[in-house]
């Protein structure tokens, strides 16, 4: 599913003339309806998170954040995003290079495949990895097989007690899946629009492949890449459904921040849950601010060109 809602928009020619207006009363009514709708569904919940987080005072708020469980959840979230985002970033650049700079058959199929994770329910994404790596899945069958294909591999897996589901690797894999399209979706249309001539000129002038990418392509895709990384990171840190399936909810070990929020909420520690949730809400606000900043920079860049 292409995600027009999360795409850095190309510059557009603005129509100089103002369109015909509505009577002031209609205009005010429409602005009022729009602001009331957004206020009810966006501003109120956002404010509510912080109000609830501080409901028992600043002391309780910071006490919750200083708990070892919260600390381990923060570390796990940072670790997961720290692995998933760079990997998807490399994938995004590679896929965009192959798709935008070369012609081959089946390109549309490849584009659809890259979009696929957006249209799979997070719960099903988690389920898929349980089926591959879980105790009843392919990995489990292999480990327990009487005559495995590579006996040394099965032996090694059993000797080291390799666990993927209900452990960190499963969390990372599920996060990689749900955030896979973000960077690629951002870069493919951008690099397609930029064409191949600049890179071809660089090659003709004797630049190596890497020099061409680093000195010619990279400056052109800088803002698009950053935009994709910001969105990818927000989703990686906030993912809930997919990691919920593969995590096993071992507190202090396999609970990321969103899962820790759920655990506190299920314990009826509502203020604690909202205190941790406020960290994620702050992350969302930082994401929106960075996103707006990149859009602004990108628009200015296109004006000066």
């Amino acid at each position: 599913m292409s995600h027009p809602a999360t795409q850095l928009r190309p510059p557009r020619a603005r129509h100089r003339r103002r369109p015909l207006g509505e009577p002031p009363a209609v205009r005010r009514l429409l602005i009022g309806v729009a602001l009331a709708f957004l206020g009810l569904f966006l501003v109120l919940p956002l404010g509510f998170v912080f109000a609830q987080a501080l409901a028992k005072g600043v002391g309780f708020y910071f006490a919750t954040l200083h708990q070892p469980m919260t600390g381990s959840a923060i570390r796990l979230t940072l670790l997961t995003a720290g692995i998933a985002v760079p990997l998807n970033c490399v994938f995004g650049v590679m896929a965009a290079w192959a798709i935008a700079k070369f012609d081959f058959r089946g390109k549309n199929l490849l584009l659809t495949l890259i979009d696929l994770p957006f249209s799979v329910s997070p719960v099903i994404a988690g389920l898929m990895y349980v089926l591959v790596f879980g105790a009843q899945g392919w990995l489990g069958l292999y480990q327990n097989a009487a005559h495995p294909v590579f006996p040394w591999l099965a032996h090694w897996l059993n000797a080291h007690d390799v666990k993927i589901i209900f452990a960190e690797p499963g969390l990372v894999l599920a996060t990689i899946f749900v955030t896979l399209p973000f960077v690629a979706r951002e870069l493919i249309p951008l690099m397609q629009a930029q064409g191949r001539t600049e890179e071809e000129a660089a090659r003709a002038l004797g630049a190596s492949g890497w020099q061409t990418f680093w000195r010619v392509t990279r400056p052109n895709i800088k803002w698009g890449l950053l935009y994709g990384v910001i969105l990818c990171n927000a989703r990686a840190m906030g993912e809930f459904g997919a990691v919920s399936v593969v995590s096993g909810h071992i507190r202090g070990r396999t609970n990321t921040l969103p899962l820790h929020v759920e655990a506190l909420y299920d314990d009826y520690n509502f203020t604690g849950a909202f205190a941790v949730a406020s960290l994620l809400a702050l992350l969302a606000l930082v994401t929106l601010a960075l996103k707006t900043w990149v859009e602004y920079k990108n628009a200015r860049l296109n004006e000066t060109v």
């Binding site: 599913m1 292409s2 995600h3 027009p4 999360t6 557009r12 129509h15 369109p19 015909l20 207006g21 509505e22 429409l30 602005i31 729009a34 602001l35 009810l40 569904f41 966006l42 109120l44 919940p45 509510f48 998170v49 609830q52 994938f91 590679m94 192959a98 070369f102 012609d103 081959f104 659809t112 495949l113 890259i114 249209s119 799979v120 997070p122 719960v123 099903i124 389920l127 898929m128 990895y129 089926l131 879980g134 009843q136 990689i176 899946f177 191949r196 090659r203 969105l231 840190m237 906030g238 993912e239 809930f240 459904g241 921040l257 969103p258 929020v261 992350l283 929106l288 601010a289 707006t292």
Partner: protein, 284 residues
Amino acid sequence: MTKPRPLAPPRIRILPGFRLTFGFTLFYLGLIVLIPLAAVFWKATALTPSEFWQTITQPAALASYRLTFGASFCAAVVNAVFGLIVAWVLVRYDFWGKKFVDALVDLPFALPTAVAGITLATLYSPTGWIGRLLAPLGIQAVNSQTGIFIALTFIGLPFIVRTVQPVLEDFDPELEEAAASLGANRWQVFWRVILPLLLPALLTGFTLAFARALGEYGSVIFIAGNIPMHTQITPVVIMGELDRFDYARATAIAAVMLVVSFLLLFGINGLQWWTNRFNANPAA
């Protein structure tokens, strides 16, 4: 795959790295997407056809399809109406704080779904800020289908705004002026000229919001409660089977949802193709 098409002039590849990047792309997609996806269809065959049919048509599953599709549809309709108004206001009018409002529209994308879930559940609970006002009216939002609708409306909010907004920005004012000079009043111009041209974008946004709502989990579970046959959406039913370690049944229901998602994905691609073609014509 790498051979040039017949009849096309042979293109000399000046740029390097096709094998590396294309190979890596296929390898990564295979590992992360295709093999796990194949596992779903492998596991679904663990059931006999009659078991499979019985699983996907059990009363709890049927009730969850009805609820998931119904609530997602209603939420997408509400978002279509209000999203169009928000997009209109953001493109056509100036008011104080417009840039801030524009940035805030993407909040449902940026806010983790679990945070949205506990926030809406508490906000609409009988003691919450909004639930307190609804309780005297006899509206119960938490542990009800209304709550699911509210959560899905929140999740789908940015889709319509962000698909309609660019089309509205590109809209040629001359079309409206022509209609007005021919005697149409403002409402007729909107209804007969503007709305038909916005329709493809509106439909695309609607389908995107609907598709997103079908698979949503995190923001729904807290406000929905977990009342069997009444407030269990399909992802929750799958989760329930997983908690019982009944992977085959979970996979059967998941396979149904996957097929629906893929059909929607193709529908969306078709709609976007239509939107692009549609918008290319009047601009030319």
